[in-house]
């Protein structure tokens, strides 16, 4: 009897699973679609010079970005963004681990770090360009100069607040320094580190654009500024649309990595909530 019910129920459960997948896709794209429709109607009813209708912008998007511009402007920007993010994470985690572990270093450096973090990085862009010249490395440096702080400060905090019993366990079992870093300190700090990385991503994207606005001849930020100053309004909007899409892509990659790195953390949260 139970077996019969179970076999009967299985296909229905599969169907329900598919329905849930479709539903979540529909929910994810539904609202953007609605916005597009409202925007399209609005633009038809009351045309605006500086805010064209979606069809015009999407056409401009295809004309502008699909083709050589992708290789000349988008890819270099994305490469600098990627290198900047990776460097920010590596430098932030490495320095943060050292500072978090060594108490006198923390006490010595923390006020200064808070000061540097408080400086809005865009104000440094012109002077960095002057000092290091308008080259790729300078633009990466601009990204790192802003994006490293959330990772660094969160790592320090995460490393510092490692549970005392876990630390004593490591000491009593005489774990080596490398083992302590790899199996205790970094995993224990990983929820904070990931929170820092999440903040860094948006900072990095902003700085990627800003770093390209000053004496440059390629890159997404340069292109958008160029369109702006030449009244190429649809093209400018298509660039902004592309930036938004890059942001969505970054968030998706982050979510994918975070679910794997913090699987244990989310598991504990789920157990606690149940």
């Amino acid at each position: 009897m139970t077996a019969a019910i179970r076999t009967a129920a299985t296909p229905r459960r599969v169907a329900a699973g598919w329905r849930r997948v479709l539903e979540s896709i529909w929910f994810a794209v539904g609202f953007p679609l609605l916005l597009l429709v409202v925007w399209g109607i609005w633009a038809t009813v009351a045309p605006q010079k500086f805010f064209p209708d979606p069809v015009t912008i999407i056409r401009a998007f295809v004309d502008t970005w699909i083709g050589p511009a992708f290789v000349e402007d988008v890819l270099p920007s994305l490469a600098r963004l990627g290198v900047g993010i990776v460097l920010s994470i590596v430098v932030g985690v490495a320095a943060g681990t050292v500072i978090g572990l060594v108490r006198w270093m923390r006490e010595l450096l923390e006020p200064t770090l808070e000061f540097f973090r408080a400086i809005p990085p865009p104000v440094l862009v012109p002077i960095l360009m002057l000092i290091f010249g308008p080259q790729d490395a300078t633009r990466v440096l601009v990204i790192v100069a802003g994006a490293v702080w959330p990772v660094l400060l969160n790592t320090i905090e995460g490393v510092r607040s490692t549970d005392s019993v876990m630390t004593e366990t490591a000491r009593s079992y005489a774990l080596t320094f490398g083992e302590r870093i790899r199996f205790l300190v970094l995993p224990a700090a990983s929820p904070r580190i990931m929170a820092g990385v999440r903040q860094s991503l948006s900072v990095a994207l902003i700085l990627m654009v800003i770093s390209e606005m000053f004496n440059n001849s390629e890159g997404l930020g340069y292109r958008i500024t160029y369109f702006q100053t030449n009244y190429l309004i649809a093209q400018m909007w298509s660039g902004i649309l592309l930036l938004g899409l890059v942001g969505v892509l970054l968030a998706a990659i982050f979510g994918f990595v975070e679910r794997r790195v913090l699987a244990w953390y989310h598991g504990i949260k789920e157990v606690e909530r149940a």
């Binding site: 774990l175 953390y265 504990i268």
Partner: protein, 266 residues
């Protein structure tokens, strides 16, 4: 004396803070033989955990000496394993049960196969061989403490130190875990130093019970437990001798709490 494993001599620990000086441990001396199961019991706040941390080399004593195998303890000795009361904070939640048990063995000279064999054997000894791939937080409290015990067993220590390990588990689980400790002691000849605030537990488990005074702490009594080595939760606890011993320890603890016992002057 080759069979003296652990020797604690005139141990004293004073905490100095901005609010004043607190003498946690006055003067503790005792010895433990190889293969013994010694329980330490005392009134709450008598510095049991401080004593253990000193023995484990996690805390430096103000004065006095601790020797393990004739060697002074100044940092955590490699031949000692610890089981904490807070199992949830002692196991690493990002590692599986198996990886947790294996972690202290990683830097030993053991070959991979030997390591795996030790881990399997330890997990089997605590009855958790089926849960090797789970994460600690997927297990109940009692099972988590079993993982911590398995980690200590796999480490093959000279002495196993347990700090109120069963204070946070329910009564039935507790009885099972007590029998597990007895089994490890009997079948593997493990030397175990077991700290508890539970008088019944100390008498049921121990071959000797060391009763501590209230803080500043000294050894109020060193009581041999003359019960048969085979112990049973029902039969042993029903013995008249068990009742006598637990009553005796209970009275000692009460005296300790009231501060009636007089510290012998050295």
């Amino acid at each position: 004396m080759p069979d003296t494993l652990l020797e604690v001599e005139n141990l004293k620990k004073v905490y100095e803070s901005s609010t004043g000086v607190v003498e946690a441990i006055g003067d503790i001396s005792f010895t433990m033989r190889r293969g013994e199961l010694v329980c330490i019991v005392g009134p709450s706040g008598c510095g049991k955990t401080t004593l253990l941390k000193c023995i484990a080399g996690l805390l430096a004593p103000t004065s006095g000496r601790i020797e393990l195998d004739g060697v002074g303890v100044t940092s955590p000795p490699p031949s000692m394993a610890l089981v904490f009361q807070e199992y949830g904070r002692s196991l690493y939640p990002w590692l599986t049960v198996r990886a947790n048990v294996e972690l202290p063995l990683r830097h030993t000279a053991l070959a991979k196969d030997d390591r795996a064999r030790l881990v399997d054997d330890a997990l089997r000894a605590v009855g958790l061989d089926h849960a090797a791939g789970s994460y600690p937080w997927q297990l109940s409290g009692g099972m988590q403490q079993r993982v911590a015990i398995a980690r200590a067993v796999a480490y093959q220590p000279e002495v196993l130190i347990m700090d109120e390990p069963f204070a946070a588990v329910d009564a039935q689980t507790r009885a099972d875990l007590e029998d597990l400790v007895r089994t490890l002691h009997r079948e593997r000849g493990m030397s175990i130093l077991f700290v508890t605030h539970d008088i019944d537990e100390s008498v049921y488990l121990g071959e000797r019970v060391i009763v501590l005074s209230k803080s500043p702490t000294w050894v109020q009594e060193d009581l041999p437990i003359d019960l048969a080595p085979e112990r049973d939760q029902i039969a042993t606890r029903a013995l008249p001798r068990f009742t006598e011993l637990r009553t005796h320890v209970y009275e000692q603890i009460q005296r300790a709490k009231r501060g009636e016992a007089v510290r012998p002057s050295a």
